[in-house]
Symmetry: C2
Subunit: 453 residues, 2 copies
């Protein structure tokens, strides 16, 4: 009798789990056979292209994603205004070793870093001091006055999660120019952040220190960083010429783009899922972060196609200006707070359209345990890592409003082959990998809207 009572008690739980499992299977099957994510990404990459904040292409991407979500019949689609910085590269940079005793004059592959100032039309010439990251600069700070500081710390290739390797080396990119300027350097060259040795310079954000001069800051390809380093070993008076026309212009009005499906039972509880719509001004911003945006739109589109009514409110958000300001993420959180909205979860995909391994998260122990409790529902899809700390840049500002912050956690081996380069184009995104990520996010949103968080 006890046993029967126990089984009766368990029955609804088992049925519910089975139901969830079946619905998640439906999501994956649907996405892998009739998904729109890949074709939508093709349009964004090929018809619009790269889209740095403040550019006409960013405005086009705002209009495209708005129209796309409207075409899918989401309950509400709207733009959230936000002022963004407008940095322009100003044409192709030049960098050249002038006087190698071995090779003579040698062109170097470079890209100005985001927010960098230009050298002026005549460029500049300086001797080069190579340092190993920001710590290396500290050791040689009395030797860099009037010179070009060459930050040449590689990413650590032994780290399996390449984002950790990126985190370990990107101090030199983010604040190399600010730090070198303190000691009188006239420019910085920064080794590109990738484990590959190739010809692609990787741009990315950097910030000046308002108390010191704003000196030109350029990324150099890893292959040319190795070359420059080897030339410097034999010749201390090596001179490099740099020329770029980058400049910061007036701020521009732009938008976060938001699409919503209202919850049927607890509409006040919001689940935001998104990516960032802006990209750097090279390549097509395919993995970073066209992929995340198109996956987020797909989550809500799948609900419409399935005819499912979520219990809680779902929101697809295309944040603007993640790359060089984070204004969109900040504005979104500010407005949410002002309106006293209740986000129970915010999910971002901004680690590329690669096969999903799991989810990273930041939240209370209860929130993270609940997330982890769903692991078995995902392992049939090779999604198994639920203990990774993390989240996403754009959702970070929501933290103090209490939602769990979740990042799609794809395999990271190839991400830094393309990140912030001319190589981040549609062709390097695999359709099935992208779709598996979209399905994973949809399945997670499904569980949260059903079960709460």
């Amino acid at each position: 009798m006890k046993k029967i009572l126990f089984l009766l008690f368990l029955c609804p739980l088992i049925l519910k789990a089975q139901n969830h499992s079946e619905n998640i299977q439906k999501i994956f099957n649907y996405e892998l056979t009739e998904g729109h994510t890949y074709e939508n990404l093709r349009y964004l990459c090929k018809e619009i292209g790269n889209r740095i904040s403040g550019s006409p292409q960013a405005a086009a991407a705002v209009e495209y994603t708005k129209q796309l979500m409207e075409s899918y019949g989401f309950d509400t689609v709207y733009l959230q205004p936000v002022m963004v910085p407008h940095w322009v590269r100003g044409g192709k940079e030049q960098a050249k070793v002038l006087n190698s005793s071995k090779l003579g004059a040698v062109d170097l592959n470079v890209l100005a870093l985001g927010n960098s100032r230009g050298t002026g039309p005549n460029g500049l010439v300086g001797e080069v001091v190579e340092v190993y990251g920001i710590e290396g600069l500290r050791k040689l700070e009395d030797q860099v006055k009037g010179k070009i500081v060459f930050f040449n710390q590689p990413m650590d290739p032994t780290l399996i999660n390449t984002f950790q390797a990126y985190g370990g080396a990107n101090g030199q990119r983010g604040s190399g120019a600010a730090e070198a300027a303190k000691f009188g350097a006239i420019a910085v060259l920064v080794r590109s952040l990738t484990n590959r040795v190739d010809d692609f310079p990787h741009t990315g954000n950097q910030r000046y220190n308002p108390d010191y001069p704003e000196i030109p800051a350029l990324a150099i390809s890893t292959k040319d960083a190795e070359l420059l380093s080897s030339l410097l070993k034999g010749q201390k008076d090596l001179k490099v010429y740099l020329q770029n026309n980058s400049m910061m212009k007036e701020e521009v009005l732009s938008y976060n783009v938001i699409g919503e499906i209202k919850g049927s039972e607890k509409p006040e509880e919001i689940i935001a899922v998104g990516g960032h719509l802006d990209s750097w001004d090279v390549g097509e911003g395919a993995h970073d972060d066209g992929a995340g945006c198109m996956q987020a739109i797909e989550v809500l589109r799948i609900y419409k196609e399935m005819g499912w009514k979520p219990k809680r409110t779902l929101r697809a958000v295309m944040w603007m200006n993640e790359e060089n300001g984070l204004r969109g993420g900040q504005e979104y959180a500010k407005v949410a707070k002002a309106k006293a909205e209740k986000h129970i979860a915010a999910i971002e995909s901004d680690a590329g359209g690669f096969i999903p391994l799991g989810f990273s998260s930041t939240g209370t122990e209860a929130q993270r345990s609940k997330l982890a409790s769903w692991r078995d529902l995902f392992t049939p899809y090779n999604i198994w890592k639920f203990d990774v700390p993390g989240g996403g840049a754009d959702i970070g500002p929501l933290r103090d409003q209490g939602p769990i912050l979740i990042g799609l956690h794809p395999d990271s081996q190839r991400y830094f082959n393309y990140h912030h380069t001319a190589a981040d184009v549609f062709e390097v995104v695999d359709q099935r990998e992208l779709e598996l990520g979209a399905a994973a996010m949809t399945a997670l949103v499904y569980l949260i809207e059903q079960e709460g968080m």
Copy 2:
């Protein structure tokens, strides 16, 4: 006191596990910083290229891998003779829809399937009957006499393991011609085995039935399969022209290439690790299976570089003729039996140089449990699947000699983008993914030579 005794008892076990964990970390760190796998694969792909059994390139690959293993100082490197079939494509095939009422004449992207006969220089013309796999042929067997049978069963895109989807659809490729010939068909066109819809035809093996005519068998790209299918819907008298010059020539003497490091404690216990050296005659055989060969050589090279002496004998084996005969795998097993060799494990990497997810295996419950017991040593490298059934084609013939058969189990999402096509070139292999596979295999070999199996 009991507690202390218990701890003393546990101590060696804990130390051993820690030691294993540290050595595995050394393997991964070494491979990700100083691995040769990628550069060796570049040589095989770019300097030798594709290498079908019996071709001069296959002979070059034999010599290259022999010299490479000799240069690494393995204890023994030798060739194991084996006679292989020598099939030649005979130049570019032609396929054309002749009389589409919509489009007129339309060229189709095709590749003769392995072992196919040619049409003769004048080609052949026939009406087309579309069927859904071998089962579909059974339903229409009275309608195919004098016609071209068009097998158009797609792979099932909802299967996460794409090898399962491949297995579900490749009957039409392997025996489509043999079956269609029974009912008087004059040729077969077979939909390429990939989830993508693109212009690459995928070749692959097929076998004739000796009791029926050997009719030409060609793969058609998925995009052209969709086109042909749509044209047939509107026009039943559609005629297709096919021309190819493929033929089977005399058998050729070739070799398995074997490198060995003798075991220091139990040299009679052999662990074989390998891939197949032959490829199809298009592309560069990069993922299939240059990757596996170079990974296997790397396993033994790492031992030399580390200065490690394995307890048991390690053998890197490049099997010949996996693609269209399996002669190398069969000969290897035959010789092992004749010499009364004792293989305790045979490991093959033949699923592409993608990120390793785990290992597939076939063996006794005790063997498979032992393998699974090592799982925690691999999870730091995102390698976690130890329950997949499988092994490898070349190691299959060893089965009755008792070793556990193990396959490296990489992520399979991209494999069939390239498999057996002109697109399987060095550039579509990612260095870190390839290296992680090589390190995974080395770590597994390390555990087996230390712990036995």
